[in-house]
């Protein structure tokens, strides 16, 4: 009993779709493009722009000599089989670039997939198969992959076939190039599969199946011509599995030390002496906070410009006096720059101002170098602003205070005079307030939010400032009547913008509770734009 082999199609073709002919216009364009694209050859799997020697490789990665040599030894001479390698290390330690440069030096064919761009198993499998089958997605094939592959079982079968055809092709090319006596770009009969950013696979849906599958891939395939290299930010022990999986050989990339960082920054500098005196001053405080190269680089480059400001000529070699002068100039800016290190400034605030520190309430110092905007730099409707403030208050204050804070006149005026409580109970109260602050914003039901909103917005109408815009035609009455429907719409848009998030629901009541996700700075900014006295309503002041 035999089975018929159906025609190899990626999708089911119905009779109608196979009978329609494509548009004549598109045919013309497509044929033009076809003449431009060439089909991929085996040479494209090797980075064959230029060849680099071992010395160049080690020099381009100044402190990775040990790791480069170890990787080259583990990869071994040509055509030696390999058990899977697991390259791990912190962020921006040069794992991916080192591995790729090593393959450029060795001129061996490899396939690279990153688990960030291939964010689910199907895309990962198809990307690997596309590269192996030398298939490029272009307009001619409708940007589709060579084979459709969702399950690991299909992937193993297809990969096995693709690898065999590829290796035959490699051997054929080698034989041809040997007989023609022309240099071939590709060396060896093995192909290497590099899977990068493996730690992201743990967050996939099917990670319980996919991770052991990837680790066991070498054993399942049983093809010695394939080498497997995993690159990850975290070590092997952070990959948990109930029944274990085949372990791979670890290669560790440590973070750079202070001397390493210094040498890295000194590379290719136009004025080495000046830069090295700059680094003497600046590098250590930054190094104490973070050892990642990319963080420190981003912080240092604007600081260098500041450092060179008092110099007329940046090509000079500084002597001791100049060094001291520059040090005095740069010193106050270092701590400010440290605070600003991880902030992305918005464009209008990049004005260099005098280094005055403006102190705001309770010791929150606004750094003086980049003025932070006192106003919001995006637009919100008035109703939305009031909603935001009410949400912030509802999250911040405990519910029992509402009655005293928001009475019918809306003012927080008549606070009853409290009895003078003892020191101990004051301390206890204060520590309780601090605890509440540290725990984070609380949740509130919708009714409480609307009640506070009503109180606050009615206050605004009677406020002495002439902020209520009569131009819009919203009189005191008009404000009330158009309120309710608008509010719920605004609330849902605030929720989708993540200013208000849905917190847990109380199991007894079953209603949804909300939580404000706005920081105090932002709430103050919003309140200031409405001229609303927010600090009067806050609990622990």
């Amino acid at each position: 009993m035999g089975k018929e082999e159906s025609p190899h199609v990626n999708r089911r073709t119905t009779r109608s779709s196979s009978s329609t002919t494509p548009n004549s216009k598109t045919v013309g364009e497509v044929s033009k493009i076809i003449s431009n694209t060439q089909s991929l050859t085996v040479n494209d799997l090797v980075i064959s722009d230029e060849s680099i020697s071992l010395e160049e490789l080690i020099n381009s990665f100044p402190h990775r000599r040990v790791q480069i040599l170890e990787l080259i030894k583990l990869l071994g001479p040509l055509n030696s089989p390999m058990i899977p390698l697991f390259v791990y290390g912190g962020a921006s330690t040069g794992k991916t670039s080192t591995v790729l440069e090593i393959f450029k030096h060795l001129k061996r064919p490899f396939i690279y997939s990153s688990c960030i761009t291939c964010y689910n198993p199907r895309i990962l499998f198809e990307s690997i198969l596309n590269q192996l089958l030398l298939h490029r997605k272009n307009e001619r094939n409708g940007y589709s992959s060579a084979k459709r592959c969702e399950k690991p079982s299909d992937f193993v079968n297809l990969l096995h076939d693709a690898l065999s055809t590829f290796i035959d092709r490699l051997e054929g090319d080698l034989w041809k190039s040997n007989s023609k006596k022309s240099p071939s770009q590709v060396t060896g009969k093995m192909i290497y599969l590099i899977i990068d950013n493996l730690e992201h696979v743990r967050e996939w849906d099917k990670s319980l199946n996919i991770l052991p599958f990837l680790f066991n891939l070498y054993d399942i395939l049983k093809m010695p011509e394939m080498g497997l290299i995993f690159i990850s930010k975290t070590s092997l022990d952070t990959y948990h599995s109930d029944t274990g999986y085949a372990e791979s050989l670890p290669v560790y990339f440590p973070d750079y030390t202070e001397d390493d960082l210094r040498k890295i920054f000194m590379k290719d500098q136009s004025n080495p002496k000046l830069y090295s005196s700059f680094l003497d001053v600046v590098l250590r405080p930054f190094y104490h906070t973070t050892r990642r190269v990319d963080d420190v680089t981003n912080a240092i480059s604007p600081l260098y410009k500041k450092y060179c400001e008092p110099l007329d000529d940046t090509g000079i070699t500084p002597d001791e006096d100049t060094k001291r002068k520059l040090f005095k100039h740069i010193n106050p800016y270092i701590s400010q720059f440290l605070k600003e290190t991880f902030q992305v400034p918005s464009q209008p605030t990049l004005k260099a101002s005098a280094s005055k520190d403006k102190t705001r309430k309770k010791g929150i110092t606004k750094p003086g170098f980049w003025e932070s905007l006192d106003e919001l730099d995006f637009h919100m409707s008035t109703c939305a602003k009031y909603l935001l403030i009410s949400a912030f208050l509802a999250s911040r204050n405990p519910a029992t205070l509402d009655a005293s804070l928001f009475d019918s006149t809306g003012g927080s005026g008549n606070r009853k005079r409290k009895r003078k409580s003892s020191e101990k109970s004051m301390e206890k109260k204060e520590s309780k307030e601090q605890e509440l602050l540290m725990k984070g914003p609380g949740t509130f039901p919708l009714e409480r939010l609307l009640a506070i909103f009503q109180c606050i917005s009615s206050v605004a109408e009677y406020s002495p400032g002439d902020e209520v815009p009569q131009i819009d035609g919203l009189g005191a009455n008009g404000w009330d009547s158009g309120l309710m429907s608008d509010v719920l719409l605004q609330l849902s848009s605030l929720c989708s913008a993540n200013f208000i998030t849905k917190g847990g629901s109380c199991p007894l009541e079953g209603a949804i509770r909300y939580r404000s996700a706005v920081s105090e700075d932002m709430a103050l900014k919003v309140a200031r734009s409405l001229k609303f006295p927010l600090p009067k309503y806050l609990y622990s002041r």
Partner: protein, 419 residues
Amino acid sequence: MARESPAEQAQVLVKSRICNPNFIFSIFSNPPDSNYSKLKYIISSSLTEACNNSVLLLGPRGCGKVAILELVLEDLLEEYPDMISVIKLNGLLHCDHNCALKEISRQLCQEHQLLFSKMASFDDNAQFMVSMLRECGLAHKTIIFVLDEFDLFAQGKQLFLYSLLDAMQSVTSQAVVIGISCRLDADQLLEKRVRSRFSHRKLLFLPPSREDTERLLEHILLLPTNSSFPHEYVTAFNVKLLKIFADYKFKEIVDTLSYSDSTVNHLQRFLFSTVSHMDLKSGLLSLENFKAALSTIQRQPKLEVLKDCSILELYILVCMKRLEAKEQELRNFNAIMKEYKSIHDTFQTSNYYARNVCLRAFEHLLQRELISFEDNRGHGQSAEFRPVKLLISRPELYQGLKSYPSCPAILHKLMDRDG
């Protein structure tokens, strides 16, 4: 193409031996009461007596279950050609019922040169399998089903296992089902109706003993004398290697290696690393190669990560440890900041950084997996308010601080003070 030196050729040869599990386990096939001979007896007896059979191979990972099975199957295919067809399934890939039947049909079609259709439905595949079983039984051909990762087939409703075993019993078939699993209780996972159709034969595979390990080392590393290598090189290589094996320091290395993990896979990785570090100029292995390989295999990842941390990150870790020691319930970023400020006030350290710098260091620690959030559900709150827990223990932190170059003395004092 430049001819490779004999050292390189030797390296390639030994590496290919190491990467080939069949070669490694071939020395275990000789003794008469080993698993190899028992397995061979079971399968060949069911072949000759034309009956059904089933067996489970159990043992920790890396002890040679699949390798020895492959050796047995190779030998049997030589002895009884045309009487066996082998179907291989893997629990990682084919635990779904549909998937498994499709794969069985595909392999059967491949073996008997039939055309396989990917569009065949589930019913078609099931009928095909049953009829193939019947036909092969009538023709006195045995089908051997190898189910790797057997415990994954035994999850859920075990539909596939039941249908396979049921099919074997209902039609006149000659089939052997071999299950391979790393869970020693794999047979307890089976349902009642599946277990009644499965025989209770189990073969236990254990990591090799000391003597077996030594035999294995010699088997893998010694170069063959009758090969294409130059004779003096081979003798020099083997003599040096035997001298190393007799050295007591080498025995210590192998002992240390097998204290943590004595399976053959672990040994395989150790040998691979050793051979990679072989000095290609002399072409001989030395004791230093073995020592270097030991240090690459036995790593302490948490200590490495601690050495990679910056000083601010170490401060945060020490603050968290102190909060734990004070048994404070709420441990989130704000609490850590409070502790950090109190340390700064008490000791007047020079390393006092602003809040957003500390927040960034906190996020780095999360990435390095030294700290993690306590609950996965609280995505609504920002990172400052979610409670965190430490993923390293107190002695590890202490050791990490001690081995950290230029660690500020204040941190040592703080760790000591907790007592």
